[in-house]
């Protein structure tokens, strides 16, 4: 399982996202130190990586929370929706756990 966290320094949510992702991986029996962390720092890199904003977490290449069709690619901060409906700079930890479980199920 390949786990990537892409971030940009214009949003202070990176550390929180990394902590949540590590906790979710450990909880699901995966190595929390296996995360590939990549800093996105230019429009060109954002375009190349199809980066919809910071933080973006992908497991086996798939975004844990798919961005909307109209969401632009670029150096911006992502707005996530928590399961209780509130806006958040980071994904709901339950969404992280669910995405990891999904990949584990496919691997079996």
């Amino acid at each position: 399982m390949r786990v990537e966290l892409l971030w940009w320094e214009g949003c202070p949510s990176y550390e929180r996202a990394l902590d949540d992702l590590r906790a979710a991986l450990a909880e699901q029996g995966s190595d929390p130190d296996s995360i590939e962390v990549r800093h996105i720092d230019s429009d060109e890199q954002a375009e190349r990586e199809r980066f919809p904003g910071s933080p973006t977490i992908r497991i086996d290449g798939e975004d844990v929370v798919a961005p909307g069709d109209g969401d632009p690619i670029g150096l911006t901060c992502r707005v996530y929706r928590l399961r209780d409906g509130r806006s958040s700079p980071t994904p709901d930890p339950a969404d992280l756990r669910e995405a990891i479980r999904r990949v584990h199920a496919l691997d079996r």
Binding site: G10, C11, P12, S87, P89
Partner: protein, 171 residues
């Protein structure tokens, strides 16, 4: 850049309501919040700031969006108008700082970034609305605590906190 005790320059900016709004207010405390449409921190704190504006009759509140709309179209003046319209109107003006002159004069760093000016237009508080964007029950407690002091003619016990949010998107 404004420091605690500095007097703020008076600015006039266009708002989503079609009016030009001058601030700080004459003889009344003014709460100036730099904010925007696209930042999750600004969105998370928005309702708490609006509620504070509704709760304080003795102060003026203005929201100012300084972000570069060319790179961040979600923060264009049109997008600001659409957001307010979708909400059925806001009880405080949402101003567009197209030149970013106001944000530079204040030294705004993030969205949100709160500045509280006393009745003489002097800066008495600068920072975050409260300690945690994730906890609506905090109800903009730092903003309210500082504004209560200003309305009582006292210096806030906590004049500065670290603003937390997305960086202001400079041109």
């Amino acid at each position: 850049m404004l420091s605690i005790g500095d007097r703020a320059q008076r600015f006039e900016l266009p708002a989503t309501d079609g009016q030009e709004h001058a601030f700080p207010a004459d003889g009344r405390p003014t709460v100036v919040v730099f904010t925007c449409n696209h930042c999750p921190y600004a969105l998370a704190w928005h309702d708490r700031i609006v509620q504070a504006a509704q709760d304080y009759d003795g102060a003026d509140f203005v929201l100012v969006n300084p972000n570069d709309a060319e790179r961040y179209p979600a923060d264009s003046f049109d997008a600001m108008r659409e957001r307010v319209e979708q909400d059925g109107g806001w009880p405080l003006p949402y101003l567009r700082d197209e030149s970013q002159e106001v944000a530079r004069a204040y030294g705004a760093k993030t969205t949100p970034d709160v500045f509280i000016l006393d009745a003489d237009g002097r800066l008495r508080y600068r920072g975050a609305p409260d300690p945690d964007y994730e906890d609506p029950s905090l109800n903009a407690s730092w903003l309210r605590e500082a504004l209560d002091s200003v309305l009582e003619g006292e210096d806030p016990a906590r004049p500065e906190t670290d603003p937390v949010g997305c960086s202001v998107k400079w041109k």
